[in-house]
């Protein structure tokens, strides 16, 4: 039958919406999932809108009473009924404290290589941002650990990645430092007491340096992300925080 989410296959809308509901529940349950790329692409905006609506509703109902229960939030009716209790309580207890100010961009989509089966389907990771089990968080931590073991400074792209990961996380920088130390121990067999890598293969692997070392703390820093075609200037930093007046159309 093929992928039911593709347009020419959508014969039954119920099936497509059911897949989206299941993907939505499982992303929240497991923090990250691996699916095919078209399914992930179709489900991502639906998960985003579900999370924004339900988190908004939780924020509003918290103003009136202290303990919010699953039955109060009518947005949870989007999910399949067996999932509502588990997923709803997780959103109320964990996700609302994880995303206090975030309005959108709760999920991230990472492309993977194709599946090794017969169909060779393109695969992707769909994950919640700022979680403890975020793939991108650990990947950047591993990158930073490798660069530190090689004795290099961070390049521009890694610095941007570190910033995106740590800026909105609660105690982001300290958690990231802990993750880097753990990555050194876990992936590179780094012994902290002696300060050396114990595995011989990894030692040989670490000698494989990047081609142009000028990007890593040399002359070419801050040039990688600048436009080569146009002479652009950096935007000046905001001086004062502008307060936007609340909209009169929103019912308070």
């Amino acid at each position: 039958m093929g992928n039911p989410l593709q347009h020419h296959f959508v014969k039954s809308v119920k099936l497509a919406s059911s897949i989206n509901k299941n993907l939505c529940a499982n992303v929240i349950r497991h923090e990250y999932i691996v699916t095919t790329l078209p399914k992930a692409k179709a489900a991502q905006p639906i998960i985003e809108s579900f999370l924004t609506k339900s988190l908004n509703q939780i924020k509003q109902s918290k103003q009136s009473k202290e303990a919010v229960e699953v039955e109060d939030i009518k947005e949870f009716k989007f999910l399949h009924t067996p999932d509502v209790e588990e997923i709803g309580s997780k959103i109320i207890n964990e996700l609302s404290s994880r995303y206090p100010t975030r309005k959108n961009g709760f999920t991230r989509l990472i492309r993977l290589e194709r599946r090794l089966g017969d169909d060779k389907a393109p695969m992707a990771i769909l994950e919640l941002v700022d979680s403890e089990y975020e793939i991108k968080f650990w990947y950047t931590a591993k990158t930073v650990a490798r660069l530190e073991l090689q004795g290099l400074e961070l390049d521009d792209i890694t610095r941007v990645n570190v910033d995106t990961i740590t800026s909105n996380r609660v105690e982001g920088e300290t958690k990231f430092r802990e993750a880097v130390e753990l990555c050194k121990k876990e992936f590179f067999k780094y012994d902290q007491e002696t300060g050396e890598v114990t595995d011989e293969e990894i030692k040989a692997n670490l000698k494989n340096l990047p081609t142009n070392l000028e990007y890593y703390g040399g002359e070419l820093t801050n040039t990688l992300l600048a436009s080569k075609q146009y002479n652009t200037k950096e935007r000046p930093a905001k001086e004062t925080k502008v307060e936007i007046p609340p909209s009169p159309f929103l019912n308070q």
């Binding site: 492309r111 993977l112 290589e113 990947y139 591993k142 490798r146 792209i157 890694t158 992936f187 494989n208």
Partner: protein
């Protein structure tokens, strides 16, 4: 006599086969001393084998020769047009080289740009599974009979004989596994050809 026709041309060159074929009166013309003898070419070992076989079996050919059984062969010669259409008509039959190969920043192996490095992903996923197990999110099923006496276990669960085929299936060789990627080396990359219209 079809054997003689088939092997005649080759067999004449072989000295050992000469005594099978009826001898013709030798014609030799000598023109002074200028004509030198042709260099002795190397003899095919199969021919020697055939000669031995004929010598042992009173001149009868082996079974696999001239027994009336035809082997699979194409029925007709493939025409020039058909040959060329099959090979060259749909231009995308060849596997195209990848030009978006970069170095993975976390492990130094090759990866495609804008794609996750599958080697790192596999490492991180197994690590995160362990982390989830530590934090109590993944709960392993507890075996209710973990502290059973070994003799009791042998009597209660004697097991069953597994055939060689089932044993092979248990190894799960049929599941395809991803190969470990090579270390990145810039000199081994294939450079992209410049397009003529640029």
């Amino acid at each position: 006599m079809s054997l003689a026709f088939r092997f005649g041309a080759i067999a004449i060159a072989h000295e050992s086969l000469l005594n099978i074929i009826p001898r013709l009166p030798a014609i030799s013309i000598r023109i002074g001393e200028t004509v030198s003898e042709a260099p002795a070419s190397e003899i095919d070992p199969r021919l020697e084998e055939l000669a031995e076989h004929l010598h042992n079996n009173d001149g009868e050919p082996p079974f696999m020769i001239d027994n009336g059984i035809l082997r699979a062969v194409p029925k007709k010669k493939m025409s020039y047009r058909r040959h060329r259409t099959k090979l060259y008509a749909p231009g995308n039959k060849q596997v195209q080289p990848l030009h978006n190969i970069v170095r993975c920043s976390a492990c130094g192996r090759v990866k495609r740009s804008h794609f996750m490095c599958m080697y790192c992903f596999a490492e991180i996923r197994t690590f995160l599974k362990g982390l989830k197990r530590e934090n109590g999110i993944i709960k392993d099923a507890v075996d209710p009979q973990a502290d059973i006496d070994p003799t009791d276990a042998r009597i209660l669960y004697p097991g069953k004989n597994i055939s060689a085929h089932e044993h092979q299936l248990k190894k799960k060789d049929y599941v395809p596994k991803r190969e470990e990627p090579l270390m990145f080396d810039k000199e081994k990359l294939m450079r992209e050809k410049k397009k003529w219209y640029n």
